[in-house]
């Protein structure tokens, strides 16, 4: 069978694609910041001295990492709705993204913290640094510098998997693609265009993270390697 590609008919939908792409980036940006906070707190909780908190954080990480994102979305979104809490879709989508990426971040940050030699922490204690100082200057900053590539890789993956939030009708890029293809009947072309857009967004995000890394870790910039 012959099939003629017709990308031209998608031209009128260009503003909508753009809106969807921006929405995806916006969701990613918010979820990255919040996920980072949750992840760091959770990683600290797992190292802490309170066994119940460590167990709780550990359980959270394992549960999220061993169940599909789609199930998490349905559980949170429909679950909360059935419990009477109707979140706006945008907020619900971000909530699920944060819930998901927080656990992956926690695991990566924890791996980074494990690379800090105990002697460093003992030395900091001997110098009389306060606990927040030790956590920030001795543990967190060097370990974040070491795991920065895997962290940012995880955030790029999260941007890609945010496409799944279209299943609860979030109007991000994939959601837009679904409505465009049902209007234009050009599903093949639509999804090819969207695939290319996602690819470009992934490249853009990687580049942005690279720049942020250069600004945040001057030592990495000068030496070209982490610690």
């Amino acid at each position: 069978m012959k099939y003629t590609f017709d990308f031209a008919s998608l031209q009128e939908y260009w503003p909508e694609f753009l809106r969807g792409a921006l929405m995806t980036l916006e969701m990613t940006a918010i979820a990255t910041v919040l996920g980072m906070v949750i992840g760091v707190l959770c990683a600290i909780g797992r190292r802490g001295k309170r066994p119940w908190l460590a167990a709780l954080c550990g359980a959270y990480v394992e549960v999220v990492r061993n169940t599909p994102y789609l199930i998490q979305i349905f559980f949170i979104f429909f679950g909360l709705a059935s419990a009477g809490l109707k979140l706006p879709i945008f907020a619900a989508a971000i909530l699920t993204m944060v819930f998901n990426v927080g656990a992956y971040t926690a695991e990566i940050v924890r791996a980074g913290m494990d690379t800090i030699h105990p002697g460093q922490i003992e030395a900091a204690e001997a110098l009389g640094l306060s606990v927040p100082q030790i956590y920030w200057d001795v543990i967190l900053r060097p370990s974040l510098e070491r795991v920065y590539p895997s962290l940012t890789g995880q955030f790029v993956l999260m941007m890609l998997s945010s496409s799944v939030t279209s299943q609860i009708s979030a109007e991000e890029l994939t959601g837009v693609a679904n409505s465009v293809q049902s209007e234009s009947f050009r599903s093949f072309e639509t999804f090819i265009v969207v695939a290319v857009l996602y690819f470009l967004m992934a490249m853009l995000l990687k580049f942005a993270f690279f720049l942020v890394g250069q600004a945040m870790f001057p030592r990495r910039r000068r030496l070209g390697t982490p610690l």
């Binding site: 599909p68 349905f74 679950g79 599903s187 695939a195 992934a202």
Partner: protein, 220 residues
């Protein structure tokens, strides 16, 4: 609406588990074969082949699996190749797996010391003999933990096949939920079932990693 969660609903979910496993196995087997090819290309001597396969990996890793699934399912349907949901999901997961596994395995092959290649060349082994008899047995050891870890990823990814109407565990849970509307319970059970599949694999992957790192393990 109405009724409560009965044993029949649970059996229906279990049937979904079966299809999830079938789809995962299919994706992993096909993706493994294709991934092996990708690995060969990524480590090929021709720079052109390396560059093309690099682009392929970047492209697949840079697009969401969901979009890949839509391209295969709707796209090929429009072109006139009507794929049943199982095959459409299998094909897109295969492509997805091939890019990730190919890249994982490339890393493992390249982590085998260069001198092994040189020594094999000194012994007049062909490139294929070197790969099969010298490099791969060593690389396979390194490759096992991340490959098992990726299997967890595959299992979770099969949940996306639900959007093209393939009745695996997630779709089954949706169907049950639509008739009962008890999302916490139904998706909770589905989550537990996924967890029961994935967690042992995660643990296995981690213990393999520990065994492999025995020489470099830190006395903490």
């Amino acid at each position: 609406m109405g009724g409560s969660f009965t044993i029949n609903h649970f059996l229906y979910l279990l049937q979904g588990v079966g299809w999830t496993i079938v789809l995962s196995a299919l994706a992993f087997a096909l993706g493994g074969v294709a991934g092996f090819g990708v690995m060969l290309l990524r480590t090929a001597r021709s720079a052109l082949l390396r560059r093309i396969s690099f682009l392929y990996v970047q492209l697949i890793q840079g697009t969401p699996l969901l979009i890949l699934l839509f391209v295969v399912y709707f796209g090929l349907g429009v072109v006139g190749i009507e794929l049943p949901p199982l095959l459409a999901a299998g094909v897109s997961l295969m492509v997805y797996c091939s890019a990730f596994l190919g890249e994982i395995w490339r890393g493992c092959v390249e982590s085998v010391p260069r001198t092994q290649w040189e020594a094999s060349e000194g012994l007049a082994l062909t490139r294929w003999q070197t790969l099969v008899d010298v490099i791969l047995p060593q690389a396979a050891r390194i490759a096992t933990p991340p490959t098992v870890g990726f299997l967890v990823q595959v299992l979770k990814s099969t949940s996306l096949a639900s959007v093209v109407g393939f009745v695996e565990l997630t779709r089954a849970a949706q169907v049950v939920n639509n008739s009962l509307f008890t999302p916490f319970l139904v998706f909770g059970i589905a989550g537990v079932l996924y967890f029961a599949l994935c967690y042992p694999l995660s643990r296995w992957s981690r213990s393999l990693e520990r065994k492999l790192n025995v020489g470099r393990r830190q006395a903490a």
